[in-house]
Amino acid sequence: MAVDLTVNGATRAVRSPGDVPLLYVLRDELGLTGAKYGCGSGHCGSCTVLLDGLAVRACVIPVDAVGGREVTTLEGLRATDGGPHALHGAFLAEQAGQCAYCIPGMIMTAAGLLGENPAPGDRDIRLALDGNLCRCGSHNRILRAVRRAAAEMAT
């Protein structure tokens, strides 16, 4: 049974059965591979997307639970004026990443945080990202990137 999904501002008719996690619909049916598979159980944050602006784990949300809510993936992440989101430039400026597999999830989690709290403190950022795992040890660069993006968005 087809479900209509709103993804990155466009309505997409989806053929996958309703119990398929959103992650597989995005990656395999819609060709949006920004969100990554990491654990399938919501433990690592690699698959993070925004649902009506809130950061969620796409690997544990069945597609039929998404309903009419707006899904935003890394590919569709934009500033409120439609321009590039400050997080993209900030992560590059800080060279935040090594293998970078976890970074799309980091950026989306940070986008959710900045949407709720435009001026987060260090503790807020660490708490928001605490469920996102990085194996290469790029944590401090990621923290700096989020702080940089927040500062840029405030100006």
Partner: protein, 744 residues
Amino acid sequence: MSAAAPALDRRGLLRAGGWLALAFTLRGAAPAAAQDGKPRLPGSLAANRDLDAWIRIGADGSVTLLTGKVELGQGILTALAQLCADELDVDLARLRIVSGDTALSPNEGVTAGSFSMSNGGTAVRLAAAEVRSILLDMAAERLGVPRGRLTVSDGTVTDPDTGRTTTYWELLGDRRIEREATAAVPPKPAAERRLIGRPVPRLDLPAKLAGEPGAFLHDLRPEGMVHGRVVRPPSYGASLVEVDAGPALALPGVLKVVRDGSFLAVIAEGEWTAIKAAEVLSAAARWEERDTLPTDAGAHDWLLAAPARVIPIKDDKRPDGAAAGRRFEATYRRPYQMHASVGPSVALGEMGADGKLTVHTHSQSVFETAAAIAGMLGQPPESVRCVHVAGSGCYGHNGADDAAADAALLARALPGRPVRVQWSREDEHAWEPYGAAMVIKVAAELDDRGDVRDWTYDLWSTPHGTRPGGKPGNLLPARHLASPHAVPEPQNGGPPNYAADRNAIAAYAFPGQRVATHFVTDMPVRVSSHRGLGAYANVFAIECFMDELAVAAGSDPLEYRLRQMKDERARAVMVRAAERFGWSAYDRQPGRGRGIAYARYKNVAAYCAVCVEAEVERGSGAIRVTRAVVAADAGEAVNPDGLANQLEGGLIQSLSWSLMEGVRFDRRRILSRDWADYPILTFSEVPPVEVAIVDRPGQPFLGAGEASQGPTAAALANAVFDACGARVRDLPLERGRVVQALES
């Protein structure tokens, strides 16, 4: 590549102008060592002597750098591109990079061991300098002016006096440079460098950060792709008794169930279908299991009791026979630890109608993995091509090669369709080869001043290297086939790099030092190359014990090390780390302390010192790392930001290993099967890290990717002791162990 293009051979060049003879006489290469009658060339040039194995220039103005090294997240391709573009005098943007393609790249073996800059970087730099020199000679001939007058910018050669120009691609046309390297053209002097030594941003990051398709192997979606899932046995010793494939085959979209002995897999049109079908297949499978493991708690006792080959690696007798002084001894232990990549392994295999197999893989050893796969399939080696595409990192031998072998088996079962095999989180946690558990017993005898006179060091370890190496038995699925490939007899690495005994020889100036490796070849738990191999535990043991001895001698731990270390570069990184940390003016508080540790990786690569500050809650034993400093000398730094990223990342990864990581298993099964069972360090636990680089322009590259892990573990344990008096000698430094040490 332009295989059919006319060759730019020596005779042709001589015909073209005769400059080559001159060039040859001007460059007198000093052969380092004879090999097959030819001088041995530096780094990876030794095995790949042709210049056009490294650099090709197209008539369209493209410049291609070919490398056998692969990007793991360490930034190697950016550093190699800097070397190539700078020495060749072309823009970075003009460069195309072919990396880790067994059909195209020079065979540089494995991307591991912190060798990529010293071997790969050296080769690229010398090859680029030599190609530039050849092209300048050609340009001088073409323009009819003295070579020394010419300038080059982005491949365009200009004679400033006449304003006449030519380009590399005009000079070569469709020809290739068919010449062997001589390694005799010196790299540019420092003042002329544009890119080397600068923090050039990573070339691969923009695509990865933007989520572009193709930036990761996990995201490739070729036309006609299908999804494979392997149903792994429940334990190492399990064999498949029977399975009913019917229910899985009945699911819509399922194409095939593959069974070969205890290798069981399913192929389906959609990924979610493959996942569900694998669950159904797993439920329909009956396995016979056996107890084959020592349990995690019993692993070290097992290791000490197992049959071992004793390999003395150092036996320096103290020259003077003075009477025995104060004697100290201690035992240190390391558990099995995971690579634990955030993205489970993946591979994409396709079998052509001609029987030729292509596997896209994030293996660190594409050449040897291709050979191992060919052996597993019983195919000629040349019929298997491996192509590296970036995956999720960890810096070690994780499941990548096994997934490649899975994809090969499934591609053979379904020719003509690209088959993608994605491991699950549980597959990766339970089946990747782990870093080996180790036991280290060290004893020292001190002189009147408290300095070490005699040092005795014994280590027990299973192997650290079971990478494919061209042998099918090192590939996980090959062991499960109906005609299984046996696990090859593992080897320990010898000098100078070693493996289990990497960094087991202390580099201090001890008058007497004896070191022996007790090498256990039995591997009840699957093991292979974990970042740093044995260096992590050996440096932990040596540098913790040095701290204990410093305390016994009543000396400051930094001063104690400095006075027994003769290598000036070693002393320099220790002093630099201590200065940045504020060692001498440190304000110790109750429950808060500092630790220092040092090692030169492999005793031949980068010098590295680490200072850590930690707070310990005495009641619970909880450790909080509040800050860390790492100082390193990696020779000439090609990309200081990339180097800093490696050093800091290595430090944080080691904090994670050292604070909380150890694989759990009972007699039968691995119990650490997801992130809840095997947690790693998170943002709330990561301290701020300062990196100080001691740059040595003009000095050889010293690999740094594995420099900081060992020193970090020891500096942490030493900081915990300094904070609360608990000497914890077992990794990881879990709360219970801190409390136990406080009570003893």
